[in-house]
């Protein structure tokens, strides 16, 4: 059984289709990513998937329950890490977990037994009695993750789990998420960070304008959508150099002061660059960000 199955999902606000024929079938025990620019419909899709809002059209099934009719029942087995911090500032770390566990109908005893392991998992051992106001941003985020696990969910839904965190804190969250995947939990996360999606996700759905425009593993997406090598070129004399290089690479794209040369044969481009000492360059393998920018465009979304 698929932990979450969305078919033909449509949702409009004020005549604008925010979700437009969206399909998604999660595989148990894997990490799924929703990648898309601002306003692509990521958060709306998650809210639909939790049965919080009703779709205009389409069928949804969450852990074997039809939504929205059986949403409350289905949510018993789901953990959610929301985008915006919603910890209870009046409670301590442990009180936050206790209070949240009670919303799932768990007994005080069950929750108390789970708290040490949850704190351990979140790297918050010894912080049980700390007030929320004394926690750093990273600690709060980890506590929010621990809170989402208080009901021992089968599916964990995370909306931009590492936005606003420093690199150290992000790595700690990633570590935790990988442990969840190893435990066999299914993950569904949205993110703006390509490296995050590349590191964590088994399957990535790139979405734009409310529909899936590409899907696959990070490697599949890169292999299927883009040339294997990228040479980024910037510096004095770029405009003159640009004219003579176009034959050497399959695709060139200029963004601001940088020229992105996508190619199967980077040696030729690099050799050409050696002859232009005013230019600086960076040769790297193509990554998910290149795919993302290619298929969603470089225009700013607000």
């Amino acid at each position: 059984m698929s932990p979450l199955s969305l078919r033909g999902l449509t949702k409009s606000y004020g005549g604008q289709r925010v979700v437009d024929g969206f399909d998604l079938e999660l595989e148990p025990g894997r990490c799924h990513g929703l990648l898309g620019p601002n306003g692509a419909g990521k958060t709306t899709t998650l809210r639909l998937a939790l049965g919080l809002i009703e779709a205009d059209a389409g069928t949804l099934e969450l852990l074997g329950h039809a939504l929205p009719a059986e949403a409350k029942l289905a949510r018993r087995r789901v953990g959610v890490v929301p985008q915006v911090d919603s910890l209870d500032p009046d409670f301590t770390v442990a009180e936050n977990l206790q209070t949240y566990g009670r919303y799932f109908g768990l007994s005080a005893k069950t929750i108390a037994e789970r708290i040490p392991a949850l704190l351990d998992f979140a790297g918050l051992a010894g912080k049980a009695d700390a007030p929320i106001l004394t926690l750093s941003g990273g600690m709060k985020r980890r506590l929010t993750l621990a809170r989402a696990l208080v009901n021992d969910p089968d599916l964990v839904i995370l909306d931009e789990p590492t936005t606003g965190l420093d690199p150290q804190a992000r790595h700690l969250i990633w570590q935790g998420l990988r442990r969840l995947i190893a435990q066999g939990k299914t993950l569904l996360l949205t993110t703006h960070f390509m490296d995050e999606a590349e590191r964590l996700c088994d399957v990535i759905s790139v979405i734009d304008h409310g529909r899936v425009i590409a899907r696959g593993s990070p490697r599949e997406l890169i292999a299927g959508h883009i040339e294997p090598h990228v040479v980024e070129v910037f510096g004095e004399g770029l405009d003159e150099w640009k004219a003579c290089v176009s034959g050497l690479c399959r695709r060139c794209e200029q963004a601001g002061e940088t020229l992105f040369c996508y190619t199967d044969d980077p040696e030729k481009v690099v050799a050409e660059l050696e002859a232009a000492p005013g230019l600086r360059y960076l040769h790297r393998p193509a990554n998910l960000e290149d795919v993302f920018l290619k298929i969603t465009g470089r225009d700013l979304r607000d």
Partner: protein, 263 residues
């Protein structure tokens, strides 16, 4: 996997309780100052006006002014407590702390959240009523002790009424400043027209007709006779009116909050 069987076992009727309990546990941490606030403001009104103004006045409705004022203070205090809780405090939880959003991600739904808030505000306002009742007992501002016990259910009904109304205002409020409209346009007129400080018998007919519709009037029509040693006239009507206002407010709150948070 949950089967139909476990669905039937789920005690849906009490789903609001964890929400009530969350608010109670937060309140417990600051119970001291909170109780003092519940008590100090209405006490000062009652004692200041009761003794100060009372000294200048002949008996009002056959009793000393302080005794007359006691019922009004009780209803006013319960109303204020329920209103503040469902406006400022509930707004913080809904809009600022996103507590409601967090709860909605669990098996609880918006009805559970709002019922929890409704019952919590009712409980808290009952506490305000009890605080005033203690003062009434200590100062002996009553005729028949047994009848003053009926003030407890009156406080519950009054709290319920204003909690329901307050939640509906909370649902449409863009910010804290908005509540000032409610206090200026609804609460203050009620205090002045509902008979808190003086009997409304001297009002011209049209003003009396307006006053008769106000929720606070119904609360005072119940509370005042009970303190003066009589069973209220039209008791069921007044009780039903409070209940109806509260329920209408709650139903509106549910619809409007759903529109606000879940669309």
């Amino acid at each position: 996997m949950y089967t139909l069987d476990s669905r039937l076992r789920g005690n849906d009727v009490m789903n609001w309780f964890p929400v009530w309990r969350r608010n109670f546990l937060v309140w417990k941490k600051l119970a001291g100052p909170s109780l003092l606030g519940n008590l100090a403001d209405p006490m000062l009104y009652m004692l200041g006006l009761g003794y100060g103004l009372g000294a200048l006045l002949p008996d009002v409705g056959g009793v000393p002014y302080l005794n007359f004022l006691a019922a009004g203070t009780l209803a006013y205090s319960v109303m204020n407590s329920a209103s503040f809780e469902t406006l400022y405090s509930a707004f913080s939880r809904m809009h600022v702390q996103k507590t409601w959003d967090a709860i909605l991600n669990t098996p609880l739904d918006l009805r559970d959240v709002l019922l929890g808030e409704l019952f919590w505000a009712t409980s808290k306002s009952l506490l305000s009523g009890i605080a005033i009742l203690l003062v009434i007992w200590v100062l002996g501002l009553y005729e028949d002790f047994a009848l003053t016990l009926v003030l407890l259910p009156v406080a519950v009904l009054t709290g319920f009424c204003f909690a329901g109304l307050g939640l509906s205002i909370n649902a449409v409020s863009p910010n804290y400043d908005f509540f000032l409209y409610y206090f200026t346009l609804a609460i203050t007129p009620m205090v002045l027209l509902g008979g808190v400080f003086y009997p409304t018998t001297a009002f011209p007919a049209w003003l009396a007709a307006v006053a008769a519709w106000l929720p606070l009037t119904h609360a005072i029509e119940l509370a005042r006779p009970l303190i003066l040693g009589q069973w209220p006239q039209g008791m069921l009507l007044h009780a039903a009116a409070l209940l109806a206002y509260g329920m209408a407010g709650f139903v509106a709150a549910l619809g409007l909050t759903r529109k606000r948070l879940l669309r």
